[in-house]
């Protein structure tokens, strides 16, 4: 202890002292320094993965609240609660407790709706994150395995979302379970056994399905997702982020802000913002008002039976599939849901899992590491293919509301169905080819994607008007090197190290882009038939 007269050590000294104290005990000085100094790129699209991660955290928080009240049982009781229309009806305990959470538990409805919205947004964030990874080529070596971990999480998110949707045992979720049972049945050889095993007998089973789904939903699948998430982030941390090409951004560097304190502050802020957004959704936008649907009765049906959005593509596929049922060896049957509900998702995820390897086979690019992202337009084949395939799933998703479309557009159901039957396979081809062509054009166009320079209209003393280009603003012509000239990827490490400004060069700090106004001096190379291609503002330096 220091004497009272000694000046109080500065905050900095005290912090350094804390660091020493920690290092004495854990020996983490080196790792800790590296971690705190770690650079995270600033591009907005890196937020997508964070949205997914934070919605998962919020799902756990709200989910814990719900488990305190939910009763996972299909045991039938007579409803005596506060919601009059249901009084005296036979309902399952699962349904009753969900109605109670919604209407009787204080803040219960907010929590339930936040939980539901969070699940929908979780899946959406994962899908959009996947799109970013796909279209920018971030799945290439060395990140193939992390990409596959991400895909696995996507599957688990979809499955767990469906399971969670089924738990309240309301009329609509029961219809979903009925269809799921039929999809299980359609599996060749093991289908009947699998369905009976999971449900505990012929549909609707002997009441096992809700408790089983419950332990899957709150324990097993979240635990697996959490484990994969840790692996996903650990690998990401170790391999470091990818980044778009840009000024000072090479295949051997990461450019951005440091982890501590800037990134930590921003990302904590984003967590609360996402939490806040979900609270607003949960409070102000009703979702799944199960007390209106009633408890599940297998012989009743609700209108507009539709699943959560991430199952929409499967529902759409079930709807537009022709009535094909194949008899087999005179005695076995491949039933109708097999193609749209088993083969289609199987192919989808197999293709997604295989994609890094398929692409590497064609481009022969896997001999080196890729840390610079592609701009989608510079990869017309991948982008065209991706957008085409994406539009296929969008078509399927839209097809999941054929009845609603027919009603609102006042056309025949038949017409809508055939539109989708024809459009779903053809439109993606058109969309894909068009995207391919647009990418080709864009990657050739001078200044494509560049921030536009505005014009200023000047009024002269005589009253005439003239238009002059606005002054160059800082950052206007900072640039990305044209994609074809990514020399870093081919040049050995030592040589490219030279490209980067060093602290000892010209006595200037390495803080890139600190003085953006001077960066306009960069001369773009002449290419593309003599057009100038002004360099591009680096992504994320806004």
């Amino acid at each position: 202890m220091k004497s009272r007269d000694a000046p109080r050590p500065s905050l900095e000294d005290r912090t350094v002292e804390l660091a020493r104290w920690t290092d004495d005990r854990f020996g983490v000085a080196k790792i800790g320094k590296t971690a705190l100094n770690k650079i995270f790129p600033d591009h907005w699209s890196f937020l997508l993965g964070e949205i997914a991660m934070y919605t998962f955290v919020i799902l756990i928080i709200t989910g814990i609240f719900l488990t305190l009240f939910f009763v996972p049982s299909t045991h039938e009781v007579i409803y005596h609660g506060s919601y009059l229309p249901l009084r005296g009806q036979r309902v399952s305990e699962a349904y009753q407790s969900t109605v109670d959470i919604s209407l009787n538990v204080r803040a219960g409805l907010v929590m339930r709706q936040m939980h539901h919205w969070a699940a929908d947004i979780f899946a959406a964030a994962v899908v959009v994150h996947l799109c970013r990874i796909f279209f920018t080529g971030a799945f290439r070596r060395p990140r193939e395995l992390n990409y596959m971990i991400g895909l696995t999480m996507l599957i688990l998110v979809i499955v767990n979302g469906f399971i969670g949707y089924s738990l309240p045992d309301d009329q609509i979720s029961g219809a979903g379970l009925r269809i799921a049972f039929s999809i299980f049945l359609s599996l060749p050889i093991i289908g009947t056994w699998g369905a009976f095993l999971l449900w505990g007998g012929n549909f609707p089973g002997n009441g096992d399905i809700i408790p089983r789904f419950y332990s899957l939903h709150i324990l097993i699948i979240p635990a697996v997702i959490a484990g994969l998430l840790v692996a996903h982030l650990g690998i990401m941390w170790h391999q470091k982020h990818t980044d778009f090409p840009g000024k000072e951004k090479t295949n051997r560097t990461v450019v951005g802000s440091s982890f501590w304190p800037t990134y930590v502050a921003k990302t904590t802020g984003y967590f609360f913002i996402i939490f806040a957004g979900l609270a607003l959704l949960g409070g102000l936008f009703q979702i799944n008002p199960i007390w209106l649907y009633g408890s599940y009765e297998p012989f009743k049906v609700s209108y507009a039976v539709q699943p959560d959005w991430y199952m929409g593509w499967l529902d759409g596929a079930l709807r537009i599939m022709p009535a094909w049922e194949t008899q087999f060896a005179g005695r076995y049957l491949i039933s109708a849901p097999f193609y749209p509900a088993v083969v289609l998702p199987g192919l989808t995820f197999t293709a997604l899992y295989m994609w890094p390897f398929i692409e590497a086979r064609f481009t022969k690019e896997n001999r080196m590491e890729h840390h610079l992202l592609d701009r989608p337009r510079d990869r017309p084949v991948r982008t065209g293919l991706g957008v085409g395939v994406l539009s296929f799933y969008v078509m399927l998703f839209l097809a999941s509301s054929t009845d609603v479309l027919a009603n609102t557009l006042r056309v025949s159901l038949n017409g809508v169905l055939w539109t989708f039957r024809i459009g779903t396979p053809t439109i993606p081809i058109v969309v894909g080819l068009a995207t391919y062509q647009i990418c080709k054009e864009l990657s050739r166009a001078p200044g494509a994607g560049l921030r536009k320079r505005s014009n200023v209209v000047v009024r002269s003393a005589e009253g005439g008007y003239t238009t002059v280009p606005a002054n160059i603003r800082p950052g206007d012509f900072e640039g990305e090197p044209p994609p074809e000239s990514l020399p870093e990827e081919a040049v050995p490490r030592g040589a490219m190290g030279d490209r980067r400004r060093r602290p000892d060069e010209g006595g200037e700090e390495v803080g890139v882009g600190v003085d953006r106004t001077e960066a306009t001096a960069v001369t773009p190379p002449r290419r593309f038939g003599g057009f100038f291609r002004p360099w591009h503002r680096p992504a994320g330096n806004s």
């Binding site: 100094n37 359609s186 012929n202 440091s258 609360f272 913002i273 012989f299 049957l333 491949i334 803080g511």
Partner: protein
Amino acid sequence: MSPGGEDEIGSDHMSTGGENPGGDNPGGAGSTSTGSGAATATAVEDIRLEIPVQRPRRAENFVALCFVVSVLATIGLAITYSLGGQVQAEGALLGLGLGGMGVGVAAWGKYLMPQGPFVEDRHELPKPESDRRAFGAAFSRGSVAVERRGFLGKLLGAAIGVFSIVGIFPFLRSLYNPRPGNALDFTFFRRGSRLVRIDGRPVMADDVDVGGVLTVFPEGHAGDAVSQTLLIRASSVPITTLPGRETWSPHGYLAYSKLCTHAGCPVSLYQQQVQQLLCPCHQSVFTLLNGARPIFGPAPRLLPQLPIMDNGDGFLRAQSDFQEPVGPGFWERNTSTTLNPPKTAAGQ
């Protein structure tokens, strides 16, 4: 810090200004970090402490405002909650409380904390060849050790294999309750079963008007998910839907399994004018008078028809069970009877 130990491929540190006053060697494997210990002492010049905005006061005020909003909203939330809660108010106040914190902290990070871009070196993921070889050697130690006693390895494999088969079997078996058996082939309808409503009351022949529909079950099994049957009075005189079903429809009653042959949803929308049934799940349409043949949508098979009779006591009864498995298809379904909807019937 020991700079000497870090000068290797794979060293993982920043080459940011302030940290490296000593510079580094451009041809080398990476930058050095000679000055990192000293950096703390000269933190004022550390560009990582520079903040990105011209007028920090304004940013500061904004952040402060956010936090104040958050505090007020959260107090409001507490009040709302203690008054009994109200879902919209809870959501909005919770959103404001969290959002104030979120926007405040994010803005703090964005405007009042040192911003990049800073450059960090990537480390080369693959290590030097010598390390890789040593890693491979260490790894292969295990496989060599196993290979030397290959037969033991195989026996261990056998032990594990037998254990998993035997171990998994009871696990799976205990989940089966009951096993499928031929449960999918039958419903609870038997010869003579009275048709009952969901509340168990039997249906009399004159209970349903022409054009009316009713969901019925075999007596004793009201509410059964598999036996549910749609009873439709399509006419006042017996109708024949398909050849061989001449006696199935006393008093113009038709009874079809309610389970859609597509994915098992209850087919419950009866369109009286066109005598069609519509499944709400994927919009399959069945024409009643042709044996419930699917004419639209993904359903592949006719709805199984239940032969019914009136013994003269006024009760409607089943003549037998359905003559084929009801509901969606499954692997073991013997399909010879009705896999292909008899097109010939369409002209009836």
